[in-house]
């Protein structure tokens, strides 16, 4: 086994998870330590934790702001986000050991690939979006697209026995024999995890602050 293969299978995962956890943790603590700002709420806003959870879930699962005000990228965006949610559940289901996982994985992979491709094209084609996009925006979408395609073509998403590898990682005894065509996916996957904390793709964590601490203010 080549060194880089060993690295991808058995070392990179731990490195990536460590960076992901520490990176996100650092970000979250950094914002948590922010001084309480002057009141800057936008009215009306949900006042109880129930109402706030309701709004949050609506936004997460329907991307309502885009639907209401920026319809042309709503569908691709929704497709991509649902793909990501499904891939996250694919991993969870694999760990738990539910065979349903493979359906989630394959569907999720397809949705991520389709959504990221469409978003990439919208950015490129729509002059308004193109003007405000930096190269990194395309890079992020391309990264997601490649990752999903590698997972689909390599067959990882539809392979329930991939569970063995995940469990072996979790039990700190990385299982080294994996089909060759999984390697590219794994490399991208772990690099992606490593990359997230450094990018705006951490917006899922940041939203807590922009909504709960600023737009909605402190809970009464």
């Amino acid at each position: 086994m080549a060194l880089w293969e060993l690295f991808t299978i058995a070392i990179l995962p731990y490195l990536a998870i460590a960076v992901l956890v520490l990176g996100l943790g650092y970000k979250i603590i950094y914002w948590l330590k922010a001084p309480v700002n002057l009141h800057w709420e936008l009215f009306p806003y949900p006042r109880t934790s129930g109402e706030q959870a309701g709004e949050l879930l609506t936004e997460v699962f329907t991307l309502r702001s885009l639907y209401m005000h920026n319809r042309r990228i709503w569908l691709p965006s929704l497709v991509m986000h649902y793909g990501i949610y499904l891939v996250v559940f694919w991993l969870l289901f694999l760990v738990v050991g539910l065979p349903l996982a493979v359906y989630l994985g394959v569907t999720g992979g397809c949705l991520v690939a389709a959504g990221s491709l469409l978003l990439f094209l919208s950015r490129l084609i729509n002059p308004e979006l193109r003007r405000i996009s930096e190269p990194v925006e395309y890079l992020n979408l391309a990264f997601l697209f490649l990752l999903a395609v590698a997972g689909l073509i390599g067959g990882v998403f539809r392979d329930f026995s991939f569970r063995t590898y995940i469990i072996s990682l979790l039990t700190l005894k990385p299982h080294l024999s994996l089909p060759d065509n999984y390697l590219f996916f794994l490399l991208l996957f772990w690099l992606f995890m490593l990359y997230i904390p450094f990018t705006r793709m951490a917006h899922f964590a940041v939203k807590y602050f922009t909504y709960h601490k600023v737009k909605w203010g402190e809970m009464e």
């Binding site: 914002w31 922010a34 001084p35 309480v36 700002n37 002057l38 009141h39 800057w40 709420e41 936008l42 009215f43 009306p44 936004e59 991307l63 702001s65 885009l66 209401m68 005000h69 920026n70 990228i73 965006s77 308004e128 979006l129 003007r131 405000i132 996009s133 930096e134 190269p135 990194v136 925006e137 890079l139 450094f198 705006r200 951490a202 917006h203 940041v206 939203k207 602050f209 922009t210 909504y211 601490k213 600023v214 737009k215």
Partner: protein, 458 residues
């Protein structure tokens, strides 16, 4: 004046000094603005907004300036925020230092600095975009923080600084009206009420220990006296213990232009307000029809001045009027205002202040035919008078106000079919006065208090 951004110039050459080197000073001031110790007031929304814009363009879909300009690039909310964001990335973030081209980090030049200084005064910080942004990124707060950085290196519109906050601190009001002239004006208004309405209303001034100290935007005495008279009639009809104050007592102008461009200036004016109220020993400081003054005294003050140091309540005059009508403390007859009336939600009272119902209940009680503008409330379109624009004229700026926000408001107003537009904010009144002239609309504007006074049953 030389062109530095678009066809307008709000900053004078004396203030902008477009040909002098300022980049270094700017970067120093910006560095300070990013320190939470030095700039805690809006540090969280400011840094979050610099960091996490997804470049989805949703903000642009609702920005009045961008839409009304026919979607000119330079007025895109993200284009404006990116002027500061690119500098932020280049000088203050690691990815920006390592991979500038990839993340869009750029060196600041004197030319870019000139353009940014002007462009941050093409946004009224109406925060309509922040309301719809999926990530709740706030282009308004970025514009305001940029204004603060520029102010720290002494670049600010004269209307807001030299003739605004600094004049207000010196004279007690931004109009520069001395106490004796103020008292004459009040006498004149009393006579005016008697002449037009046929009854006498005593307007108390400088009464210590009153229940209510009513503080108007001082510009109202000169430009929108109907509002001042209307409020006096309402106070009088309610039979409450109230007073106005003259500059002899301290500050007698509710405005605080610091809200628009500087926390330092903002705090100075705010403290002067608090001192005046304390000195007069009043129970409630009533903010007249002025949006940003309400935001400042009702919300921004809360975490800036400890409760023990402000032993009085703050209310908007709209809250009191609404309460009094509902209690039957004042009686109104809607037949006295038969024309179709509509209402414009001031950003500061609405999106930023949450006051949506009070003005509507008042108007429905006082007018026979109340109509909504579409859209309204939290999606209300800024009139274009916000963040100081209403008093900014030079460099052909009125045209900018009319051709952007003004255009949209004129269309909305026409579609409503109303012949009176009711306004609860002085800056909105200033802007609508111009819109009505510029677009020759068969409409007049009126203050809420004026319409209530019209409908009073005495």
């Amino acid at each position: 004046m030389r062109k530095v951004f678009d066809d307008y110039r709000v900053l004078s050459d004396e203030s902008l000094k477009p040909d002098e080197p300022r980049v270094e000073k700017f970067l120093q001031a910006m560095k300070k603005s990013l320190q939470k110790k030095d700039n805690w007031t809006f540090w969280l929304p400011y840094t979050l907004s610099l960091d996490t814009c997804m470049k989805c363009g949703t903000c642009a879909e609702v920005c009045p300036v961008y839409l009304a300009s026919g979607k000119k690039d330079i007025y895109h909310p993200v284009y404006r925020s990116d002027m500061l964001r690119k500098v932020y990335k280049r000088y203050f973030t690691l990815p920006g230092r390592l991979f500038p081209a990839l993340v869009g980090a750029e060196d600041l030049t004197e030319e870019k600095l000139n353009a940014m200084a002007e462009n941050i005064y093409r946004c009224t910080i109406c925060r309509r975009c922040a309301y719809v942004c999926p990530v709740a990124i706030d282009n308004g707060v970025i514009a305001r923080e940029a204004r603060k950085i520029f102010d720290a290196i002494d670049i600010a519109p004269d209307e807001l600084k030299k003739n605004g906050t600094q004049k207000q601190i010196k004279f007690g009001n931004a109009t520069g009206t001395p106490a004796n002239a103020f008292l004459d004006m009040i006498e004149f208004l009393e006579e005016e009420i008697e002449d037009t309405k046929g009854y006498k209303v005593k307007i108390p001034v400088d009464k210590e220990g009153a229940e209510y100290l009513l503080m108007h935007n001082a510009g109202d005495y000169l430009a929108f006296a109907e509002t001042v008279m209307g409020a006096a009639e309402v106070m009088d009809a309610a039979g409450v213990d109230w007073t106005l104050n003259s500059p002899a007592t301290g500050v007698n102008d509710a405005v605080n232009y610091g809200v628009f461009y500087s926390d330092v200036e903002f705090t100075n004016v705010l403290k002067a307000h608090v001192e005046t109220a304390k000195k007069m020993g009043i129970k409630t400081l009533v903010v007249g029809e002025c949006g940003h003054a309400y935001e400042a005294l009702k919300y921004l003050m809360l975490r800036l001045i400890p409760p023990a140091e402000r032993p009085f309540e703050v209310k908007s005059i709209l809250e009191l009027e609404d309460e009094w009508i509902r209690e039957g403390r004042i009686k109104v007859n809607p037949e006295k205002n038969p024309e179709p009336v509509t209402y414009h939600d001031s950003c500061k009272l609405g999106r930023l202040g949450g006051m949506y119902e009070e003005p509507r209940r008042i108007l429905k009680a006082c007018c026979q035919d109340f109509r909504e503008l579409t859209p309204n409330r939290e999606m209300s379109i800024c009139c274009g008078g916000g963040s100081g624009f209403a008093i900014m004229e030079k460099g052909d700026f009125r045209k900018f106000r009319m051709e952007t926000y003004g255009k949209l408001k004129a269309e909305q107003l026409k579609a409503s079919g109303a012949s009176i537009i009711a306004l609860a904010c002085s800056n909105c009144k200033g802007q609508f006065r111009e819109i009505i002239n510029y677009y020759r609309l068969p409409v007049r504007f009126a203050g809420i208090s004026e319409l209530i006074a019209n409908a009073l049953v005495r």
